[in-house]
Amino acid sequence: MLSIQNLHVSYGPIKVLKGVSLHIDQGEIVALIGANGAGKTTLMSTISGLLRPQSGEIKFEGQDIIKFPPDKIVKLGISLVPEGRQIFAPLTVLENLELGAYLRSKDKKGIKEDLDKIFSIFPKLKERKNQQAGTLSGGEQQMLAIARAFMARPRLLLLDEPSLGLAPMVLELIMDSILELNKEGLTILIVEQNAIKALEISTRGYVLETGRIILQGSSNELKEDPDVIRAYLGKDYEEITER
């Protein structure tokens, strides 16, 4: 569905992604894990068209989207839930959700259906649909951010650190709802520092280390991998003691 080859992205002179290649098949949940500053958010932003790569190839269903502006990429069916949520605090929950569907605002019937679907996956949001989004708890705000991305009817959902700052109970809820969305047919790329959580819900994963992918495989095998455990613990390779 999405295939990326040899992606190079820099901020000025600083090279952040140094030739990244990865792919996501229809129906998969793929996890991208790595320590702070590895380049995970950079990769997500680049796929969404928010950043221009120096070179490389990003193909979505065979089409090269590397030069497309962000709104065109949303229209194609790729939706980003950015790090830190970025919901519209003064608007109500419902208004936020409708905003998520702005690209298809004429499709009243479809929007209604999707709202029903969302409210069944996130009953909390239904209860609070007329509440101001800024007054939601952290977990609820994260649910809203995911739900709002869903309202664009994406086929590929990019989730950047959905677990950030959430209590374990809420985290469980969010992860369950991500699985639920995947069952609805949504393909998902999830970026997480909380590697173990991401690997629990995903089918495959990639490990990013300072802008380079150093490992990939099925999530089950990655969960047990010492390199992943080290990345998860945020330890540098050098710090590891010998036997």
């Binding site: 190079h8 030739g19 290649s21 380079r212 490992l215 390779y237 010998e242 036997r243």
Partner: protein, 439 residues
């Protein structure tokens, strides 16, 4: 979505993407973790991001068995020692042995590859698997045994029994799967025939042949004589283990584990890639954690076929091995380094290298090795009893050094001169030829 069982059927396009990803991550891994490769790439001015696809493999340096030995003990490890659960040591022609480590996952992958092949061969939990391999192939036995056991089969691992007794066990325990080398298989068959045992008396269904090339004639003979279906497998212990490639039911070419290795064929002289012809098989491990190898030169000569097999698998296939591109000789599945024999002799003769011929003799289907040494006053001028002792000691040393027994024969220089003049220090001879030479 690609599951482990479907991966061998991936479309060619998808393989391109997989291999690019796998190759890049292994190169990134060795560049940041393996001093040997980091130094080599830096010296050649290669940045890992130049490896944009599999064709760019050609930029990367080769790894040889000598490199592995010369960087004993730790230079090739890509993980800390505490991630390693097994270490395997190999003889080498260099001063140090070769050491290969495996993480838990590395061993699981090797076992998975064996089980995947066993499944294709129709090996089932109800099967009784008898492994008959030389002690020199003990690592092969061990890994195949583990794979068959985790499949749930009953396994009879190799033991020091005589062939006669092995056949008895095979009959009485109703062995259904035999794992052995082609030559030992033929030897067992001859013993079975002597005892009047054939397909009727034996329960064999599947024969898995390793270590040597299974020739068509021998395959027919084994299948008919034992009443089994023969399959051959190919592997090297340095990378991926005993089942890097296996025969499916539809082809006599062997399917490579394309999900775990990136194979190439090169001209062993010019080192240039060959895309449609016979050359040396070169392997880059894609998933190995402890000792990832970049462009490892196997020394085995073969050809890669890229098209889709009748069975539907899209994994590339290799022809049965056609020989070796280096000085390693395959005897009963054991690789023997002629350089190592030379070193042994020079050591034994205290610095002087005698003229010798390494003779591989076919006897009762099994290859036996002999070392013919030209007697000259430089190495020997003492009495006959002393000569005998000298020979026995050399035979003992040989077994210890090379790992396989050998008969040492003192010969006259003129007996072996015709071979040495033609630059041959290894010859295959049958009994008649040997008798006429030694007369």
């Amino acid at each position: 979505m690609v599951t482990e069982s479907r991966i061998e059927f991936l479309s060619p396009d998808a393989w391109g993407q997989w291999h690019t990803e796998l190759l890049q991550s292994v190169v990134n891994r060795v560049y940041t973790r393996v001093p040997f490769y980091k130094n080599l790439l830096d010296k050649e001015g290669i940045d890992p991001s130049q490896i944009t696809n599999v064709e760019m493999l050609k930029l990367l340096p080769f790894t040889t068995r000598e490199d592995l030995a010369n960087h004993y003990p730790y230079d090739f490890f890509a993980v800390p020692l505490r991630d390693i659960v097994r270490i395997h040591t190999f003889k080498s022609s260099q001063l140090s042995p070769i050491v290969i480590g495996y993480t838990k996952r590395d061993l699981e992958i090797r076992r998975f590859l064996a089980i995947r092949a066993f499944n294709v061969f129709g090996v089932r939990p109800e099967d009784i698997v008898q492994i008959c391999l030389d002690p020199g192939m003990s690592m092969w036995s061990l890994e195949l045994k583990e794979a068959a056991e985790s499949l749930g089969a009953l396994v009879i691992p190799p033991d020091p029994l005589r062939a006669k007794d092995r056949i008895k066990v095979m009959r009485d325990f109703k062995t259904t799967v035999l794992i052995t080398t082609p030559s030992y298989g033929l030897y067992l068959l001859s013993i079975a025939r002597e005892k009047g045992l054939g397909p009727r008396e034996l329960s064999l269904r599947v024969g898995i042949f390793i270590g040597e090339t299974l020739k068509d004639k021998d395959r027919k003979e084994l299948e008919k004589g034992f009443g089994l279906r023969a399959f051959s497998i190919y592997g090297i212990m340095e990378a991926m283990g005993p089942v890097m490639a296996y025969e499916c039911r539809d082809s006599k070419r062997l399917h490579l584990a394309l999900d775990h290795v990136i194979p190439e064929v090169i001209d062993p002289k010019t080192l240039e890639p060959i895309f449609n012809g016979v050359g040396e098989l070169v392997i880059t491990t894609a998933t190995t954690k402890a000792n990832p190898l970049i462009r490892f030169r196997t020394g085995d000569l073969t050809k890669i076929t890229y098209n889709v097999c009748e069975c539907g698998r899209t994994t590339w296939r290799i022809d049965p091995i056609k020989g070796r591109s280096d000085q390693l000789v395959n005897v009963r599945g054991i690789k023997i380094d002629v350089g190592l024999i030379r070193r042994l002799l020079t050591e034994y003769c205290e610095g002087y290298e005698p003229k010798f011929l390494f003779v591989i003799r076919k006897k009762e289907f099994l290859e036996q090795i002999e070392l013919w040494i030209a007697m000259d006053p430089q190495i020997f001028s003492a009495s006959l009893p002393e000569l005998h002792l000298w020979i026995r000691n050399l035979e003992t040393k040989f077994k210890d050094y090379i790992g396989i027994s050998c008969i040492v024969r003192p010969v006259e220089k003129r007996t072996i001169a015709p071979f040495l003049d033609r630059n041959k220090d290894i010859v295959y001879l049958d009994n008649n030829e040997i008798n006429s030479l030694l007369l």
